[in-house]
Symmetry: C2
Subunit: 256 residues, 2 copies
DNA sequence: CGGAAATTTGAGATCACTCAATTGCGGTGG
DNA sequence: CCACCGCAATTGAGTGATCTCAAATTTCCG
């Protein structure tokens, strides 16, 4: 299959919008807000940032003065041990809110890196409390997002701790596919899948080589197809079963 | 060493207090609150619950109508795969707030189980939003707690994904010791350590047998001593080094 | 004292890792 | 257009950490 046979990327355009015409907020994945709340978000936001693929968005060892909502593209949170071993903690898709953990810790948290080119809405950390104060509802929403992210990391921890290699890969493919689907990044059954095998290995706590062999085995079984940066799930039932991972239909979440 | 030679448990007494005379809040580990905030917490609280060692506090597959702050004792959050493999997600010590994740999910989250006898302050889930509304500061504090817990799970994920057995054990021992120290559960260098090796194995993503052998090896090296339900750290530097895990002095956190 | 549960130990099996070499592909320069 | 380079993906082979199975041994508790 050649590149031009694949569908075009389906991400929103990579430019800044005022929140009133936000390209994300129209999606059914996100809860509606009142005009007043929207105004508060707009006032909270300090602008947008663009990063190229591979760039560091938040340095692992420096406290970032900004919080972000990912607007378009793919990114991930990670930590590294001092000898260089890296663990990817979670992947970030449009709508994800990052940087909260830093708020209440003295550094020593995580790094964030862009996988594709990304656009982010930036919020100054020091205004967070006044947002809670002025709009308790948005504070509640932020807590919601934090709790949702924790739920996701819980799943990843189960994966790293208790699933074998095939189960891990099956789980991750389904997880990413479902989340991408939710924000409209799936077209004709294909998702943009910009990760290399090192990313997958680091997310699953496997070695690069074993990740390759496992991926290859599942693909040979006809469960999925991964090619030229695009992923297609061929046997969702089988993958869910193998990974023992069944996402309920994802409910709409707030968008900050 | 016989049981009577060990220090007595140092947990606060297991009875309900009005928040005004909370036995936990006096600890330097927790941030002060205004009388007004304290009143709001008291109003939010619906009473206390007591569970015996081994009892289930939150059922893994049922949504709990209550949120909890652990007041005394030890507990843990966990998930199980359908074939019974269990992963402990995090341990709960006095001051920890549990149940938030459930708030924004339709079940499918985690179970919580008591390790020792525990006392908890219970809060009705349906009043959470009104708490945010009435006391944005407390909402902010809850977000703080959620973010802090996420930071902890991030660490656990790195452990399960990228550390070997010795490193995992070293990391866990230091982690639990430091946290217990923070809430005054250390006396003369000894912490109550009520976990069995299955708990440790399930927290670290190891088998029971290998956990045993690793624990034994580290103890033979003189790094720690674990006996009759009490833990003593003998070589904190060596354990930190081995686990590549260095906790900054833990800052005071809110207490809800 | 007796029985159940937790810990400990040994032995062999496996899954995942490391090392090393090969392949495939996109880009680059001649 | 082709040779060449660099990086990611792939494959093979051998090693090793961790797992499973099974059997002591110790501790806990009534």
């Amino acid at each position: 299959m050649k590149f031009e046979d694949y569908p075009r990327p389906v991400s929103p355009p990579r430019c800044a919008h005022p929140c009133e015409v936000c390209g994300l907020r129209q999606l059914p994945a996100f809860l509606p807000v009142t005009p007043e709340e929207l105004g508060a978000v707009e006032a909270f936001r300090s602008g947008t940032r663009i990063f190229e693929a591979g760039q560091s968005i938040i340095d692992e060892h420096r406290k970032s003065p900004l919080l972000f909502t990912l607007y378009s593209g793919w990114a991930f949170r990670f930590k590294t041990l001092s000898d260089g071993r890296r663990q990817i903690l979670s992947f970030l898709l449009p709508g994800d809110f990052v940087g909260l953990q830093d708020e209440f810790a003295d550094g020593h948290t995580h790094g964030v890196e862009a996988v594709t080119g990304v656009t982010l809405c930036a919020f100054p950390r020091e205004k967070l409390w006044s947002l809670f104060h002025a709009q308790p509802k948005l504070g509640y929403d932020i807590t919601w997002l934090a709790a949702g992210e924790e739920k996701m990391i819980d799943d990843n921890l189960v994966t790293a701790g208790r699933r074998n290699a095939s189960e891990r890969v099956a789980m991750l493919l389904m997880h990413l596919y479902r989340r991408a689907e939710r924000v409209g990044m799936v077209r004709d059954g294909w998702v943009e899948f910009p990760f290399n095998q090192q990313h997958i290995a680091d997310a699953l706590g496997l070695s690069l080589v074993h990740t390759n062999k496992t991926l290859r085995r599942l693909q040979a079984l006809g469960l999925h197809k991964l090619d030229a940066g695009w992923l297609r799930i061929l046997e969702p039932r089988a993958l869910e079963q193998l990974g023992d991972y069944f996402e309920r239909p994802l409910r709409p979440t707030p968008l900050i």
